[in-house]
């Protein structure tokens, strides 16, 4: 697992270390990111560090299974204080299966 410092323009006290796993390849990157960055910015940084292209059908989760795809404008700080306390995130590619399972949970 490589550790990389993302250029954020902020001091260390305003940054947090996060890990993002790219499940297509099972490879991850740990890096520092500004607490006030959005999740979208955090995942963009992860794509860059992982050397992977952002794909329209990618989905985003916390390690605990919380779906983040609809909250990408939230700040990293707010999410690690609530849904993703472990600071470990996932970028998932689509997988196929039974069509009946396409429905979203209530």
């Amino acid at each position: 697992m490589a550790m990389t410092n993302a250029a954020s323009g902020k001091g260390p006290e305003n940054e947090v270390n996060v890990t993002v796993l790219y499940t297509r390849t099972s490879k991850s990157k740990a890096f520092d990111i500004a607490k006030n960055a959005t999740l979208s910015q955090m995942f963009d940084e992860a794509y860059k560090l992982l050397g992977e292209p952002k794909q329209s059908n990618d989905t985003y989760f916390c390690k605990n299974g919380t779906d983040l795809s609809n909250v990408l404008s939230k700040t990293v700080e707010s999410v690690i204080n609530s849904e993703c306390k472990e600071r470990y995130f996932e970028i998932r590619g689509p997988t196929g299966g039974a069509q009946r399972c396409l429905r979203r949970p209530k």
Binding site: T25, K27, T59, G96, G97, C101
Partner: protein
């Protein structure tokens, strides 16, 4: 799609070893609470993992047997097993097979305890990261297909792990 064919065992074993090292090096077993027991000679991996609630609290233990005979032209075969016998008896071992309540965004799947294959009924974890999906006439979209150059069995375990989290996890099939 063509029917899956077994891979030369030496090649399958080399891919299995290489990806096992990657998955361990990336810290996935520790991070997700998996216990992995590889039998490289037999091309088998036993994986213990937990179903959890929305906060990561452990609910139920599950035990997988992964078969790497077709790896990595195809994904590993997957079966839920009784941890003592390391096999699955349809009458006695239903407690060791999970139910699915729903699916996460981007992931289509279903758990079948006894799916009718051409050689008789057996388990089907119906997802494109699992060998049996391709042995049962399923046709994924291009972006959903197993890609041996990119995917590995960590992808398979990670997909099943997500399905074993509430609200997607629906409990044991029997108590």
């Amino acid at each position: 799609m063509s029917a899956p064919a077994k891979v030369n065992p030496d090649l399958a074993r080399a891919s299995f070893r290489q990806d096992f090292d990657l998955v361990v090096q990336e810290g996935l077993p520790d991070g997700y609470g998996w216990i992995l027991m590889p039998y490289f000679d037999k091309l088998i991996l036993y994986a213990d993992l937990w179903a959890t609630d929305e906060h990561g609290k452990r609910l139920d233990d599950y035990h997988l047997k992964l078969d790497f005979s077709y790896y990595k032209s195809w994904p590993p075969g997957v079966a839920f097993v009784n941890p003592e016998s390391r096999s699955f008896d349809l009458q006695r071992d239903q407690k060791w097979f999970p139910k699915l309540a729903s699916c996460p965004p981007g992931t289509e799947a279903q758990f079948h305890m006894a799916y009718n294959f051409s050689d008789g009924p057996r388990q089907l974890v119906c997802n494109s990261m699992v060998l049996e999906y391709y042995q049962s006439n399923h046709n994924p979209r291009e972006d959903q297909k197993w890609n041996g150059a990119r995917h590995n069995f960590g992808t398979t375990l990670n997909t099943i792990q997500l399905l074993l989290r509430k609200p997607y996890y629906g409990g044991r099939s029997a108590t």
